[in-house]
Symmetry: C2
Subunit: 351 residues, 2 copies
């Protein structure tokens, strides 16, 4: 009985990009938490540490010495999960035991020479330099590899083993699972509806407004209708753009600006350097550069784990791993919360 | 160049149950770890704590007092993600904004009255009592609900907020994502190959042996060929069994035995109470009890996060969330390691 209210009544929502569902049980956010508390990130990271292999002038695991770089700095991952050459597995002898070849490269990109900075504390020209470096790597590695995954693990909670601001780029000879999935769903949407899914979605969200976090002339950030992580966001261009390397100069500037605004809000939410994993998805490359990829729309996913404070995270465990993702506040509540936060970083407020 | 060796050469493996792939990069296990260290579980959990809402005689959040139970004890989750009644969401006004009703119940099951025990430290009759309680709940809730998810989050690292040995049971009015996926892949396998996928798989693994961890007359545990978590295992019956409630008396006894052997090995691996999320998957219930479910084979998944020690875990983050799961040792290496461990619990060895 009674009238349905998303913030009070459990329901499931469909994720059209992954073709699956999320359970929304917003009433659960009231439950007390007696479990593991996360350690807040260290406040005393030295700006320069000669023993940190990501710093300018430091020696890396392979014995190489980093240049005294002043902007971004890209180098090969010393422990790559993907290498350009590897013998191929034998042909499978049984359909339940199937292996296939995997080749690729793994790079690390430092965002800035200082270890005590993060993207939300960097200036617009510095963030713009990161975007340029992303587009260059996407072009360079995308010339031959079908998929170039740019991603940032930020914070120890997200498996990041080094506080120096950096991201990774793993290019592969295969389309990874998430790429296959989004390729299929976006292809189907274009063929059924005559418009790329995420272009239509951005238009809808721009009008509906309740899940908007920040927007400018070229971009918008929403907590997607189907978000699984508490403060998950989706960064979308307003025009149809297939790949990072297709962005215009001014779109890269406005991207730097919207990223800065989003990430400052994230840090302001719990007044802590906000942990997340983020990454870019765009049309596949390599051999796919010759194919029709109009169903693709460039986008970035932000997956942050914190739920209620700097030390209480959402665990995606038992039910989530074995059955279905479940969230404890509505995407609309999360968006409202983020929207209402100031756009000046809490560390710069008193200055 | 050179001959392919799975332990040295990256490759991808197909997961026929989820219809996706895992990247196996076993050479990566050598990389140094400077990231977050996990806190080992507390060693000093009191056997009985009147302030712990899972203990016999304790008062729960809703004011109810637990009985002085002596075996297993089942009660409703005080903060349920699923409730039996909820108003239904309005019909969707747009294909990208689709919600659907969700109803269900969430229960908690204590395994034992003592807070300082875990399954691997319990006796065979005590574990057998847990299995009986699982089968009863599966029958009772499965009479009306299509899916009854039994799962255990063990350890603070896996979001478990209470050290008292317990699991959860969430029954839902819908088939969750993982259930849909496994229903589709198993259905297809039976129709293409004339034998249930996991029955064929168990037969194969029983013969190949290299991924076997423990086995007995009715059951086997393997590190599946497509495992994503470092020491992930799959517990399988040898005969065709659709649901927990279809197990014979002697199969429940042999299940208690193989669970105990597996979980003792897990604890012995790093001499710590081994964290994991585990859960049971079997044929759907409720309305599906009337349908042909012969493609289903009962199984339990164990997803443990530890990688190298009691304090170094595998993070499924950036690349894994945005592209594809990646593992740092081969399933065969993990199985060998587990196989070689003693079957006496390290805490009971000196006694
Ligand atoms: O219900 P609990 O044990 O408090 O909560 C735990 O398990 C649930 C089901 O997997 C998860 O949704 C929670 O994030 C986790 O902390
Ligand atoms: O390469 P890193 O930063 O040491 O490692 C981190 O990111 C990788 C890619 O997401 C993951 O596979 C690792 O588990 C994680 O710790």
């Amino acid at each position: 009985g009674g009238r349905f209210r998303a913030s009070e009544h459990q329901h499931v929502r469909y994720n059209p990009l992954r073709d699956d569902w999320v359970l929304v049980s917003a009433h659960r956010v009231k439950r007390p938490w007696q479990g593991q508390l996360e350690k807040p990130p260290p406040e005393d990271v030295p700006r320069w540490d000669p023993k940190n292999p990501l710093c300018p002038g430091a020696t890396r695991a392979n014995g190489e010495v980093n240049p005294n770089y002043e902007g971004t700095f890209v180098f090969p991952n010393d422990f790559p999960a993907l290498q350009p050459d590897a013998p191929e597995p034998d042909d499978s002898d049984h359909p339940l035991f199937r292996a296939a070849p995997a080749r690729g490269v793994c790079k690390v990109m430092c965002f800035h020479p200082w270890s005590d900075l993060t993207l939300p504390l960097m200036s617009l020209p510095e963030i713009r330099a990161v975007i340029d470096a992303w587009a260059e790597l996407a072009t360079e590695l995308g010339a031959s590899y079908p998929w170039v995954q740019i991603f940032e693990n930020k914070g120890a909670m997200m498996g990041c083993s080094n506080p120096h601001p950096h991201c990774q780029v793993w290019a592969s000879s295969f389309l990874p699972n998430e790429a296959c999935l989004e390729d299929r769903t976006q292809r189907q949407h274009l063929s059924q509806h005559g418009i790329p899914m995420l272009l239509e979605y951005a238009e809808q969200e721009a009008g509906r407004k309740e899940r908007l976090v920040v927007e400018n002339a070229d971009w918008l950030v929403v907590v997607p209708y189907w978000a699984t992580w508490p403060y998950q966001t989706l960064l979308l261009p307003r025009r149809h753009v297939c790949r990072l390397q297709d962005l215009s100069d001014s779109e890269k500037d406005s991207l730097a600006s919207i990223m800065q605004r989003l990430l400052i809000k994230y840090d302001n939410l719990f007044e802590v350097s906000f942990p997340y994993s983020m990454g870019w998805h765009g049309a596949p490359t390599g051999p796919y550069l010759q194919e029709d990829c109009r169903h693709w729309q460039l986008h970035a996913h932000y997956y942050p784990p914190l739920l209620r404070s700097a030390t209480v995270r959402k665990f995606m465990v038992g039910y989530e791993m074995l059955a279905q993702a479940q969230r404890d506040l509505t995407p609309e509540q999360a968006a409202e919360r983020l929207r209402s936060l100031p756009e000046v970083h809490y560390k710069k407020r008193a200055e």
